[in-house]
Symmetry: C2
Subunit: 307 residues, 2 copies
């Protein structure tokens, strides 16, 4: 057991989750499993009633006392408006969100006049290639990182409360600046999804597709797994992290174009330097990715990483 220094963890007894999709309902299920009272809201009554049926909590009723934490689990482009509305209604003492990008949401929240002292921007690093309420799982965050990106005005107690919420879900918090967070997720998540989609797209609309795909193996299956993710959600995510994703894509395109050109050159062993260089760098990068993935195993205590 890791010894935790600093103030004791704030106690969380009641959480309101706004948005009963994959992430919101999974947070609710994880909290319910820890005995937390959960109230739920969603603009789609079917998602709400499905989440209630799954045991994720009760529908938020008018006149409910404020929750210890309000978790906003709606698409990135809606977070600032939902936050402002929730704060205006006094739904909770502390607010957090789970959107995949942070920089632009933080600016929008400031610009729309949200109370920035009680808002702790967050992003649990977990997901599935299937979406929707029905795909939610109580253990979705077990052993995962949960990024928190507090702004300059965020109160310490608010940050500690959301850290406790992440811990109740089985995740480990890491602290990042919104900028560092957005660059990192562009690299490990958003740009890889675009790459995966660009490869999978080659197999759409092709008459010969079936013949070609008869020879498919696990390689193509794995490389294109995230290409099955819901476009409507990802258009929103990519819009919110456009610059960082574009930077990463352009670097990948440079490498691919160089290899393509090398493959077109007339025979000559020198041109193979380009191909060998990419494959060797690919091996090195893959080793680091495998190491990082292996370190993702569940650990006790809460880890705070300044960045």
């Amino acid at each position: 057991m890791t010894t935790r220094t600093g103030p004791p963890a704030p106690e969380i007894r009641h959480v309101t989750v706004v948005g009963c999709g994959l992430i919101g309902t999974s947070v609710a299920l994880a909290l319910r499993a820890e005995g937390v009272r959960v109230t739920l809201a969603d603009h789609d009554p079917r998602s709400l009633s499905e989440a209630v049926r799954m045991g994720a909590g009760l529908a938020l009723a008018a006149g409910e006392p404020p929750a210890d934490v309000v978790v906003i689990a709606t698409p990135p482009s809606t977070v600032a408006a939902v936050l402002r509305d929730a704060q205006a209604r006094g739904l909770g003492a502390v607010y957090t969100d789970v959107a995949s990008t942070k920089g632009r949401i933080l600016s929008s929240a400031e610009l729309t006049g949200c109370d920035m002292s009680t808002y702790v921007p967050g992003h649990p690093m977990a997901g599935r290639e299937v979406s929707g309420t029905g795909a939610a799982r109580a253990d979705l965050f077990a052993g995962r990182k949960w990024a928190l990106c507090p702004g300059p005005a965020t109160a310490l107690l608010a940050a500690l409360t959301v850290t406790e919420l992440a811990a109740l879900c089985g995740a480990q918090v890491c602290l990042l600046s919104p900028y560092a967070h957005d660059r990192a997720v562009a690299a490990v998540s958003h740009a890889p999804l675009v790459l995966s989609a660009a490869l999978a797209a080659r197999f759409a609309y092709t008459r010969e597709g079936a013949d070609v795909l008869a020879l498919t193996g696990r390689g193509l299956y794995d490389v294109t797994r995230v290409a099955g993710s819901p476009p409507e959600l990802w258009i929103d995510i990519l819009e919110h992290n456009a610059e960082a994703v574009a930077d990463m894509l352009e670097q990948v395109v440079d490498d691919l174009a160089a290899v393509g050109a090398a493959l077109r050159e007339a025979d000559g062993s020198a041109r193979w330097g380009v191909v060998a260089d990419l494959l060797v760098r690919g091996n090195l990068g893959r080793e680091l990715i495998v190491d990082a993935y292996a370190r993702r195993a569940p650990a006790e205590g809460v880890e705070l990483e300044a960045a």
Copy 2:
């Protein structure tokens, strides 16, 4: 049980495998499990003795009677020379190889004066991201496709014999022209490997790599899995299928560059058409890939697909 029409399957009692890497040793192990006598050769005495220790067969001795089939499991660039040498030594009645490309090997074999009537170019669609003798498994080909690309001079009996060999390994044969084969594997295997390497390469040599990779999830892990493949083998494969791989890479680069440019554009909902189009095509392609992968389950009998 599928009823097979045509001549009865030729009986295979003795096979010689030249090249005791992952594929050659896996073929040998699969055949040994079916009671076939296997003799082994490799220019590296350590690989040879490791394969013998694993029970893949006995080392090929001088004066051995010709095998029913000789399986050439050496890198693509060496196949034609190894085939010519094996035929000159009278090592077998029928010859096949397992290289990932077919067109250029077939031309080289013709140009170097091989007997094309007893040679059946082949390619079992199986592999692992780890290579070498020790990674071999008797069930590597179970339920997999095994492409055969006979040339105009290939004798029917030779093709039937290699079809039986593939069936003994648990695989299903599909017949393809060398050109169609090479385009198909560029699409489902070779270009995806280059893409995966280009993404993984972004995480090599970066000081900030560790911080960024702390947020990694299964998406990046899956997309970069094949980037761990051995560069020396893949340089050889890409050299042999350069044009088809370049065609595929250029199409992917076009899509990625268009999305990169759209992400750079000033705000405007029209530009999101480019991003949405790619993500939707990615979804469609992914569906077809998942279907094709699911159909890869083991099936009885031998399937012959003309293409």
